[in-house]
């Protein structure tokens, strides 16, 4: 079996220690870091993402796979930088102001990283201006807003307004998601994309970054 397939399969099983060892072995064998990333780590995370989207695996399996991916990615990070490898795109993500729930946001972040996106995590309780300022300063193509509560989802509309006020609405796409959020709400506030699960959010972000 190819070492890249082994990396992918062990990542899917959440075997972090083995993934780390295999990534180091692949590097030692002279396989380019970008190949290890794409055909080993991201390939495995893609499988997990699809299975999650299809309700074949659950949050614990995603978390343990993401943990394995991060262990492998730590080894590759300096090598990727040295090779001049660019990420698929750049996203800033956060849970909106007034809302401290972060598991949904963290899942989306993991799935996006599993697609090769660079993700700036703004954490929870994020003010509208912080999303917009970060997107401007860090050249993010996408702002991604999460909310669990009906009491806080209104802040998403403020993020759209803040992007308009800063004059960057045509340069940055705004994605929204979370338990109370719907496509109707997305249309109502003028955001660009609503997705109902983490894996679909990652797919959508890749599409937005590539357009």
């Amino acid at each position: 079996m190819s070492i890249l397939i082994e990396i992918s399969e062990n990542l899917q099983k959440g075997k972090a220690k083995i993934v780390k060892e295999l990534v180091q072995k692949a590097v030692d064998e002279g396989i380019p870091a970008e190949t290890i990333l794409n055909e080993g780590l991201l390939s495995g995370m893609n499988v997990i993402g699809e299975k999650f989207k299809n309700n074949e695996v659950y949050v614990p399996e995603v978390l343990v796979a993401a943990r394995a991916m991060n262990m492998g990615a730590q080894i590759l990070k300096p090598l990727l930088a040295a090779e001049g490898v660019q990420s698929t795109g750049k996203v800033c993500i956060g849970t909106v102001q007034g809302d401290l729930h972060d598991i949904g946001k963290n899942l989306v972040k993991m799935m996006m990283e599993g697609k090769g996106l660079e993700v700036i995590d703004l954490g929870t309780d994020v003010a509208p201006e912080t999303y917009v300022q970060t997107a401007i300063e860090q050249n993010c193509q996408v702002i991604c807003c999460s909310a669990l509560l009906t009491t806080t989802m209104g802040v998403m509309a403020d993020v759209v307004k803040a992007a308009e006020a800063a004059g960057v609405r045509d340069k940055v796409k705004i994605m929204i998601g979370g338990a109370p959020v719907t496509q109707d709400y997305c249309d109502k506030i003028g955001a660009d994309v609503y997705t109902s699960d983490a894996a679909s959010a990652a797919d959508a972000a890749v599409r937005l970054c590539n357009n």
Binding site: V59, L63, T150
Partner: protein
């Protein structure tokens, strides 16, 4: 028929003289309710609530032991907790004074009183955080299984104390659902939640008291298991998260009751009044008289105005008596 009899009958699928009603109204709106009605209690009296949701009692954990473990280790993992006796004994009676006080108040109104206690997943979220615990479910299933077993023994003793005080139902709060699916697999649920839940439910029943579950989200993959557990009532059966009322009526209404129907995520505090009225009438049309207690699906959120809350409960009060 008084409220306790009415609710008990509704839960057991026996005839009732009218639709029982309740609502989780106090957590976010107590100030507004007090300003409009004098107190939350006055609101509950005004609408003749049939139930009372009680909280209180001792903490399950010995936080001093846990603080020491945290200080000694980089990460608090389930294996570390197995080495310590982290559970308190759920007594003595003096820490149950709040429950006793609430029971006296509500029993004077003949209300059906249920006491909330954390379930297995929910209890350990306090210790690990939800994301870590979900990760540990994949990494430490055996250790968590043993911790949940110990938790079940604590819950049994807590339930005994509450039953001795006179509560009518033990309500286990354990969020297993996300918006579209379970948080963890049905296989894992069957292996490390079900046996301990069964221990608690069987014990509560052996004392002649009912036992209910609160779980938000979509839990349709374990509803057969919920029926097997013998749980008497499920809150909220969240339709917005894909829990179909038709499925309940077809498959589960002969097994357990549901408490809910007034959705805080998509109806009360969200819809304009004409749409809210239509929604409440729709739910009454579907569920009234069918082993259902009308209640909010969670705490009414603070964007609900007192006028909308009053509008909703005026309608609920009327529909319950039609």
């Amino acid at each position: 028929m008084n409220s306790t009899e009415r609710v008990r009958n509704a839960i057991l699928g026996k005839p009732v003289d009218r639709q029982p009603i309740y609502g989780w109204v106090s957590a976010n709106l107590s100030g507004e309710i007090t300003a409009a009605y004098g107190s939350v209690g006055a609101f509950e009296d005004h609408y003749e609530f049939d139930m009372a949701h009680l909280f209180g009692g001792p903490s399950a954990f010995r936080w001093d032991a846990i603080a020491r473990l945290r200080a000694e280790n980089d990460e608090l993992t389930p294996d570390l907790l197995l080495e310590e006796d982290i559970f308190t004994f759920p007594g003595p009676f003096d820490v149950y004074q709040d429950i006793l006080h609430a029971l006296r108040h509500h029993k004077a109104r003949a209300r059906f009183c249920y006491i909330q206690t954390p379930g297995f997943f929910e209890q350990f979220n306090d210790l690990f955080g939800i994301e870590n615990q979900l990760l540990y479910l994949a990494m430490y299933p055996d250790e968590l299984n043993e911790l949940y077993r110990r938790q079940a023994e604590w819950t049994v003793r807590f339930a005994d104390h509450c039953i001795d005080l006179g509560v009518d139902m033990i309500h286990i709060s354990d969020d297993w659902g996300a918006q579209k699916n379970l948080l963890f697999s049905p296989r894992l649920w069957r292996e490390i939640i079900y046996p301990h839940m069964k221990r608690v439910v069987d014990h509560v029943h052996s004392r002649g008291v009912l036992c209910s579950l609160h779980s938000d989200g979509c839990i349709d993959k374990v509803t057969d298991g919920i029926a097997e557990l013998g749980l008497d009532c499920v809150h909220p059966w969240q339709e917005r998260a894909g829990m179909s009322y038709d499925l309940y009526l077809e498959k589960y209404a002969d097994k357990f009751a549901i408490l809910g129907g007034v959705c805080v995520q998509s109806a009360i505090g969200i819809l304009p009044r004409n749409a809210l009225e239509a929604e409440i009438r729709r739910v009454f049309g579907k569920l009234k008289g069918k082993r259902w207690i009308c209640c909010t699906t969670h705490f009414v959120q603070n964007h609900c105005s007192i006028e909308d809350l009053t509008f909703a409960y005026d309608l609920i009060y009327r529909l319950a008596r039609e």
